[in-house]
């Protein structure tokens, strides 16, 4: 896979050489089913790796391993040069995760959810931080409503706010545009662009190529637990789509 090494060894202009997130030889098996088969990746400051692939390709498993929520069967994951280990809590601090599910409590309000998260991360002035995060996603008007009363799109905005609340160095996003309307999606793209400008690194898993094409600095296509493609983003989506189609058709 020559494309893989090209992508992982060439930092973007403006990025530092030290990867914010680095995975080497990541493998994961569930019994006899091998979901990931020796993945390498390295993301530097200001880079956004967008991972595409069919259902069951191992994208969500990869994100859970990168977040330290699942142990790889083989291989290592390091954030800011430190291996992510479950018994070393501080190694998880630089990681922000937006998963398939919201990680929120339905019986609490958005403000209570975010204040709880802020306190878990030991942030100073949790209420101010929580309100600021909700404000950035334009949901501060619903801060005191129970989560159960919010629409899917609003809940997704709160979930996004939670994932970015503690200023993570690396943001892992699994299908982040789920439930967002056009306005919400545009707002979120703006937030992500801002995070990249501030030097955050992003790994984003999605099926919606067009939504994130302009944000991506690198793209990866995961097929059968391996990189079928892993390279700097081509300039035009229209140039990439035929190749992607070919890859999916095998």
């Amino acid at each position: 896979m020559p494309a893989q090494s090209a992508a992982t060894e060439q930092p973007l202009a403006g990025g530092t050489d030290l990867p914010v997130l680095e995975g080497k030889g990541i493998e994961r098996a569930f019994g006899s089913l091998r979901v990931l088969r020796g993945l390498d990746l390295a993301i530097r400051q200001g880079e956004a790796l967008v991972v595409f692939g069919p259902n069951g390709a191992g994208k969500s498993t990869l994100l859970r391993i990168l977040a330290g929520l699942m142990r790889p069967t083989a291989g290592t994951v390091a954030v800011m040069g430190n291996p992510v280990r479950s018994h070393e809590p501080e190694t998880r601090r630089p990681i922000g995760l937006l998963s398939h599910q919201t990680l929120l409590y339905d019986d609490l309000t958005p403000l209570e959810n975010l204040m709880f998260a802020a306190r878990l991360y030991g942030l100073s002035d949790p209420k101010r931080r929580a309100l600021a995060a909700l404000e950035a996603l334009e949901v501060s008007g619903r801060a005191l409503d129970p989560m159960r009363q919010l629409s899917r799109g609003t809940v997704q905005r709160v979930a996004i706010a939670r994932s970015l609340l503690h200023d993570p160095s690396i943001v892992l996003l699994d299908e982040p545009f789920t439930g967002l309307d056009v306005v919400g999606a545009e707002l979120f793209r703006g937030v992500l662009a801002g995070e990249l400008e501030r030097g955050r690194a992003i790994v984003l898993v999605t099926h919606q190529l067009a939504e994130v094409w302009e944000l991506a600095t690198h793209i990866g296509v995961l097929l059968g637990g391996r990189w079928a493609l892993h390279e700097a983003r081509p300039p035009k989506l229209s140039d990439f789509l035929p190749r992607y189609g070919e890859l999916l058709r095998g």
């Binding site: 018994h87 019986d107 878990l120």
Partner: protein, 226 residues
């Protein structure tokens, strides 16, 4: 250490707030406890078995089963939106999560016990005033032990398909030692026996608490890591 306790209390306070909003487990446990006491009250023949002999067993059986209902909710509420992942991702030790859950469960079981006790007095007509302090003490001592074990089993079974059935099956055998100890001490308390007759059982309860709380804090991280 202060930060450890503060974070554990933060998780416990969140659980209590969520439960006070939904009231699902608390109400179920309280109604269940009341129903069990009513059934026992009408099922017994007071002319054959005196209240003092029967009452301690009934009290602890009621508390044990009501507690299982309360313990089931501990990790179920973390499953709803995969919020357990949010806890596991936070820069806090896994042990803090366990202690937070344990404290919340202890508060729930204490609430169930505090409601069950007056109902127990009402239905069984036993005088607990002289032994109230001792009774509350043995309730605390026994509850710490089985809530510690119940919390870990609750975390263990939450991912299984029949979590609500699995928890009592796994937990009840482990509840036997603290329940026996609690029944023995309660019987002696209600009969006005001296403390020296209860010391052995109280030691058993204390040792059970220390051993299982320590063991559960140590085992929990391995349990939640995938």
């Amino acid at each position: 250490m202060a930060s450890w306790i503060r974070l554990a209390w933060l998780i416990a306070a969140k659980d209590l707030r969520v439960e006070l909003r939904s009231k699902t487990a608390l109400l179920s446990s309280l109604v269940f406890a009341a129903l069990v006491l009513v059934v026992f009250n009408f099922a017994r023949d007071a002319s054959l078995v005196s209240s003092t002999v029967l009452a301690p067993s009934v009290l602890w059986i009621t508390i044990a089963f009501a507690a299982v209902i309360a313990l089931n909710r501990a990790f179920n509420l973390e499953r709803e939106n995969a919020s357990m992942s949010g806890l596991l991702l936070a820069p806090i030790s896994r042990g803090v999560i366990y202690v937070g859950k344990f404290l919340a469960n202890l508060a729930f079981v204490a609430a169930v016990e505090l409601v069950t006790l007056p109902l127990f007095v009402l239905f069984f007509n036993v005088d607990i005033w002289d032994s109230l302090g001792g009774l509350l003490g043995v309730m605390a001592l026994a509850s710490i032990g089985f809530v510690a074990v119940g919390t870990i089993f609750s975390a263990m079974v939450v991912k299984t398909r029949f979590a609500e059935l699995m928890l009592p099956v796994l937990l009840l055998p482990f509840m036997v030692p603290p329940l026996i100890g609690a029944v023995q001490v309660t019987t002696r308390l209600l009969s006005g026996r001296p403390l020296s007759e209860m010391l052995g059982w109280l030691r058993l309860l204390a040792v059970y608490d220390v051993v299982f709380v320590t063991l559960c804090v140590m085992v929990f991280p391995a349990l939640v890591d995938e």
